[in-house]
Symmetry: C2
Subunit: 323 residues, 2 copies
């Protein structure tokens, strides 16, 4: 009744911003992401009759995050169990920089929790279950380059479009954040879908954008994948900025990294930026181009961490428990 | 055959970004602006038989800006003259910070040039003529709060919506720019109108946005005017960012000023930002609120100048020549 799993964070390449069902986290549009091998979460879950309450330790600190306890309830319901759980989770992320750990965290919690509860779920069922905890977590279940479909509850699952080694694709995760983001994603999505005059045009744009990204992955074209992710970043942030109230997730350092990427490109290095709902920047391209841009990015004022990452694999059970 | 004029720069409140006729500078949408009394251009024009070539001195330096010579040709055509001109122009702007001087410059050139050529033009004809030199210059002709209509060539003129003293409205021009903007406005507009998936939605949004701004001016409501200008800034920059190639006019310092404005607002100071096609930021509101925010904005890293300005008057002839 104890299991451990490791899952990677992922970066939205065609991003997900908006839900058609908030409770079930059914997204407004399909999204495509790449898992990041260098940013992982390890989680051990144990269900036991000896526990009176659920217990959660996150990065060596006791936590009472209600989203985790709700997720344990989902697992218990599937397993028809009433046992309480002990959960210990650790993020292998640069500390204090604010890279989002909810995708890797809920993917690892789902895989470890299901195994600890004795459930034998299909990959699709695991991906759906992870989505109920955090939308983007569903894409960390299959790993590699994955698409989260936007259908109904049971069919909104992530499927793999390409394996982690199928493309010469690298990501530099550039940490600049000094603060927690002020508007959590769920609240932000609600504001944007209801108030941005550009949200309907984003949904229209996404139909050909998704098809282009799938085609670029089929063609194993890392530069085109990186380029389309930059286009989508700007499209999504444009809907955030035009929300009421405006959602300004970028900081000055974010903009300076963006400009450094544009400058690198103007000098012939084929790198492209991508920014999720926060201040940090991902810089994508072929391994050789990302390496060529690295020192320029390190020199940007406000950059506090640089982590280079290859595409990562699926969420997986692991023999090494955290307790 | 010699005349001098002074004109104010202006800040777009509902901005103009896109033309339906590039040669005649007929805008895609009506725009509304406020003139800035503290940012002016003074220009002296003399037509003379003794000159063999047009001569232009701009801020004490000889210049060969072809747009100025083309504008002199327009004036000569109206006056049926073939005399060459001497033009001396000086900007009373903070030096090297990159506030746009084309609006005040072409408004002053138009008013001084027409008078020097002996033309007796109506205010509408002056506004149209200024528009042919620089679209936004047409709004500096009537001064105060003005709307540039978007009709055909002869009817796309600026009309005054409110006088400079009708509202308790102040602007802090926050200089942060270190460099000339990389994509000139005319080229940028062409890229956006042709490639942004949000440009049609911007044109749709503008219909009620313009009506709201006119209503706020009629109601003499400075806070609503400032708020609507911020909404429009984000809307316009969203179409720039989603252009192909992306038009990123902001720098890190721009973003930090934007965040400082949002923070000021969160602490109860009713100030709002506005950004034209460049890095500098205008901060708008009632005089008392702008004064209350001033020290916070001065403290932002990258701010190199602060100029507080009341609304300005019309472009006018002035007795004091520059030569």
């Amino acid at each position: 009744m104890k299991a451990t799993a490791v899952a990677c964070a992922n970066q939205g390449l065609i991003k997900y911003w908006g839900k058609t069902d908030e409770a079930l986290r059914v997204p407004s549009n399909p999204s495509i992401s790449v898992c990041l091998a260098a940013l992982t979460t390890r989680t051990t879950v144990e269900f036991s009759d000896r526990l009176e309450h659920d217990e959660l330790t996150l990065d060596h600190r006791s936590s009472t995050d209600p989203r985790v306890f709700q997720h344990l309830d989902r697992i218990r319901e599937l397993a028809r169990s009433s046992q309480r759980a002990r959960v210990v989770s650790e993020n292998g992320f640069p500390p204090g920089v604010g890279f989002a750990s909810s995708a890797s965290g809920f993917a690892a919690l789902t895989v470890a929790g299901a195994a600890a509860a004795g459930l034998d779920l299909t990959p699709s069922a695991l991906s759906r279950l992870a989505r109920l905890g955090s939308g983007s977590a569903s894409r960390s279940v299959p790993g590699g380059f994955a698409e989260l479909l936007a259908e109904d509850d049971t069919r909104s699952i992530a499927v793999r479009l390409a394996g982690p080694d199928d493309l010469d694709f690298r990501t530099l995760a550039v940490g600049v954040a000094e603060t927690e983001k002020k508007v959590p994603s769920s609240a932000g999505m609600r504001i944007t879908t209801r108030t941005s005059p550009f949200f309907p045009a984003r949904l229209e744009y996404l139909v050909p954008a998704l098809e282009r990204m799938r085609a670029a992955l089929r063609a194993r074209n890392p530069v085109e994948v990186a380029r389309l992710a930059e286009v989508d970043t700007l499209n999504m942030h444009a809907t955030m900025l035009t929300s009421d109230p405006p959602l300004v997730y970028w900081s000055g350092a974010t903009l300076e990294v963006i400009r450094a990427v544009l400058d690198a490109r103007a000098s012939g290095i084929a790198v492209y930026f991508s920014v999720d709902a926060g201040e940090n920047v991902f810089v994508n391209g072929r391994a050789s181009d990302v390496a060529a841009a690295r020192e320029r990015l390190r020199a940007v004022r406000g950059v506090s961490s640089l982590v280079e990452s290859a595409p990562g694999g699926p969420a997986r059970l692991d023999p090494q428990p955290l307790f």
